[in-house]
Symmetry: C2
Subunit: 348 residues, 2 copies
DNA sequence: CTGAAAGCGCTTACAG
DNA sequence: CTGAAAGCGCTTACAG
């Protein structure tokens, strides 16, 4: 039914081996041979059968991306970035949205998808250092996205949580703010990013010669719009005074901003706000939200490259840990107080 | 290296054929045989090699989902729904975000992903009736998501655009609104949904004995927050009077709502708003947005089922066209005017 | 540079 | 119910 390499061989008059060489870009072929084989391929509309190739090579050309869900903007944008980088390397991506919770996250590691992919990029939220053994026992090449350290035993890509948070806070200090709320801390929390971002905030405050004030640190159950709105509503009720907010992610910032505006607080005149993640929508909020850009492109590229290295190098290879860079996107929510169009200034 | 069916046969003492029968749930096997084979499978940790199975069967167990992008909330939620329904049928989903524009959309049909999937769910925005021939020429089973009619020649799933829009408008009329803006029309537009939703709006208005007023119909370049904000800003500038807005999608509605609130217009007291899509975030906006729920779950299920039917039935099968249902989610933005918690009432 | 042949792991007629 | 064997389409030593 379908055209095979054998048909191409027959039509072109060359052997199967030669046809295979042409398909796989083998260098030592005389141009004329290559051309005649290519003509036969075009004429027949031949396409290599990937199942056969994979069976032979032991590779599928597909990598898995395990994330909690696809409907959270952060993960959707991450998945998009990973797909682009993977496509550039000739790989397809199979996304597995696993839901939240440690049980789901661990179960995904033994899911059946594992057997159709060459490797996995794994973004779990509940991993801890004690899981290193478990992760190493997975027999599929694996790269972890996240902030938990496994002491160099697992390939891992992290973002600049502390440095980014520090830069965001320093920016707020630089534009003259002194009582900066830290929004999104987690008490005794499994989410390592919260701790790291709080550390960056604290570093900036103390480096500026100010005293770190625990009264300015506030918790949020969930890092979503609703969480940001709820916390901010409570703080306004309590009559807390502040002139800036550093929210640990963008959706918290957007939720908080919304409540502030409802209450008649002007942004950035009365309160300046900076978020973290650089979600697409931060460009379109009113005012546009300043934020830390964790360079998802860089994260995606590092993840794909590290995974490929692991796939090709095997389990004996030493584990890599890569921390990606960041940039601070200064927009209206913390920018100079004037009426003008939104502008995204980038500072490293 | 890896465990094969041959190893299971050897360890269990049965033939390869019998092992295969057990793996594939063949009914006529005595329980004891089944058990002993299963024990060997468990003991060895055997997992079928999917490439081999696919090579043999001509199936991959993977379907493709072609969408413009993954960062638009609507498509992310659609992809999520499709993955869930596919998983329930034992299928994995390979998402291909193709970018916008007709060139990209057509190019995707000949993309190489096509050869690793058993079938494709295709959500293109720029298709027209003249593309039926092209779609039929694709040799991979295909289901189209969208509103363009191909006269029964291509499998297709559509949503209740007109009925949903009519219900939304009727609801606004029922709560006493008379000058209802239709936001998101497209002039001479390729996006069929805009036309269908406008038709539903018009039907409702005329059925109520009112005159359809073209001055209340407004265009939006893009169905995004920014588009909704821009149009609404202009209308306020122009001093147009209205007491309700039916926006053709949720992001338009959210953008418009934002601008209205900035201008001191109370929602729903002064202006009631209803959107379309039932995005997750409509539950969390302030006020929560009333919207038409196009039942993405139903769309996803219909798409997966129709695709499976096509994969199994071949190209001779008559084309199916399925229109899914909808529900109207009445929330605060158009609800009774009182101060209370958000509540999502569902009315069919 | 090229050809004939083995084998990746599975499923499925075919024969018993 | 079970076994021996063919073959899905490809790549790759091996021999020339």
């Amino acid at each position: 039914m379908s055209v095979t390499i054998r048909d191409v061989a027959r039509v072109s008059g060359f052997s199967i081996k030669t046809v295979s060489n042409v398909i796989n870009g083998h260098p030592q072929l005389r141009p004329e041979t290559r051309q005649r084989v290519q003509d036969a391929i075009d004429q027949l509309g031949y396409r290599p059968n990937l199942s056969a190739r994979n069976l032979r090579s032991g590779r599928s050309g597909v990598i898995g991306l395990i994330i909690p869900d696809l409907t959270t903007a952060y993960f959707a944008e991450l998945a998009d970035a990973v797909m682009r980088k993977a496509a550039a390397k000739g790989l397809a991506v199979l996304i597995e949205p696993i839901g939240s919770g440690r049980d789901n996250e661990l179960a995904a590691l033994s899911g059946k998808h594992r057997h159709m992919v060459d490797g996995i990029i794994y973004n779990a939220l509940t991993l801890n250092a004690g899981d290193a053994e478990l992760l190493r026992s997975v027999d599929t090449p694996l790269v972890v996205l996240g902030d938990t350290s496994f002491n160099g035993r697992v390939d891992r890509i992290t973002m600049a949580n502390t440095a980014g948070a520090r830069a965001a806070t320093e920016h707020l200090l630089a534009v003259g703010r002194r009582r900066i709320l830290a929004l999104g801390a987690h008490e005794g929390e499994i989410i390592a990013a919260a701790e790291l971002r709080l550390a960056g905030y604290r570093q900036a405050v103390e480096a500026a010669g100010l005293t770190f004030d625990p009264d300015l640190v506030h918790y949020a159950d969930s890092w979503h719009r609703r969480g940001g709105a709820a916390v901010m509503a409570k703080l306004l009720d309590d009559g807390l005074k502040f002139d800036a907010v550093f929210a640990f992610n963008d959706t918290l910032a957007l939720g908080a901003m919304r409540v502030l505006q409802e209450a008649g607080v002007r942004i950035p005149e009365d309160v300046a706000i900076v978020g973290f993640d650089d979600l697409d929508e931060t460009r379109y909020s009113l005012p546009a939200l300043s934020t830390v850009n964790p360079r998802r492109d860089e994260i995606a590229e590092a993840a794909v490259d590290t995974l490929l290295r692991r796939i090709e190098g095997g389990s004996e290879l030493e584990a890599h840990e890569i921390e990606t860079g960041f940039s601070l996107e200064i927009r209206q929510s913390s920018g100079p107080v004037l009426t003008g169009a939104a502008g995204a200034n980038t500072a490293a």
